[in-house]
Symmetry: C2
Subunit: 207 residues, 2 copies
């Protein structure tokens, strides 16, 4: 399976690298980072660039596309070239997916029209502006469209996707390879269990 | 706090990007990717390059250093320039850390002599070759040296580190910002709960 991950200025690196790692290690899968033009793309913190090895035009028929989120979503969802590419590749993908606010880009491309979808908790309600149905879940599968919640949720999403395509045994093998046996020191990652002051403080870090 | 993450050929991208994301969003923290020479560094899958914005020589006094792992560890732990830099910066760091087989590089630099440490489960026993004491834990803190288990464990490690430096409230805020409320679809990430065939299959993906 050939996976394309489109990068854009001020994307969030973990949104892209989480699913990349899960799917890149899967036997027979390969991942290509793409962008409007090939070359380094700077992330939301301004301190990390990932190299897009190919342009969008170079990869017209990926089997899977995964759109990361980040503060750059606001510009990206109004980029006609990116939206046109997504609309075009989505016609032929086996799966079209997003992480974090990447679902807003899918929505702006018309791909989530009438579909349930998730997003980072801070921006999830905006999905309804584009005709999607916001759902408070970590991973939402709607036909061939898979959306994940914020940032780190891309790892869970990619394991779910891999299990559906290759079967549970392959997904479990990759999970063991990347030792994904999460033990966060705090139980603080869920927005509905946080209070309003905590949510505002978190959004201030990434807004 | 200034964090340096050294990259080397065939490192594992998530080892670096997990801690980067946690610490990069923390108020007052900044992360710099370094390498023997600045420029793009290709990862273990050969399909992703992260850009080192600075050379090792450019960053002689980071407050924190975090060494990622990956198949390239084997060459990196015999690179005199990298080991000399680690030995030198470790004299002044507040914290010296690793993810996955990055602990073997710390060990080769003499930093884990007589200390308990962890590593990816597939390579953990090798720590004893360098005088470290292998421990089957996800995150091990020994004085100012913090080691994490395989790949994804760097996220847990960075939250632990951030909580120790800035207090629990800041770490919880970052955890909420990156929506780190893990819900893996399978319970398959722990090597001691896997059987030998599963462990061999997993190592074959990343060896």
């Amino acid at each position: 399976m050939h996976v394309a991950i489109p990068l854009y200025h001020r994307f969030t690196a973990l949104d892209a690298v989480g699913p990349y790692t899960v799917l890149g290690y899967a036997p027979g899968w390969r991942v290509t980072f793409v962008a409007p033009q090939s070359g380094p793309v700077v992330d939301d913190l301004g301190t990390l660039s990932l190299v897009a090895t190919h342009s969008l035009a170079d990869v017209p028929r990926p089997d899977v596309v995964i759109v990361p989120g980040g503060p750059g979503t606001e510009q990206a969802l109004a980029d006609p070239a990116l939206l046109a590419w997504l609309t075009s590749v989505h016609e032929h993908t086996a799966w079209t997916a997003s992480v974090c606010s990447g679902s807003l880009i899918l929505a702006a491309a018309g791909i989530l029209q009438g579909r349930p979808a998730t997003c980072h908790w801070g921006w999830r309600d905006l999905l309804s502006m584009f005709g999607a149905i916001p759902v408070d879940e970590r991973v939402v599968v709607a036909d061939k469209v898979v959306t994940a919640a914020g940032v780190s949720a891309g790892i869970d999403m990619a394991l779910e996707l891999l299990g559906r395509v290759e079967g549970e045994a392959v997904a479990r093998t990759v999970q063991l390879a990347i030792e994904y046996d999460p033990q966060p020191p705090y139980d603080a990652g869920c927005a509905t269990r946080a209070d309003d002051a905590q949510r505002q403080a978190a959004l201030a870090l990434i807004g």
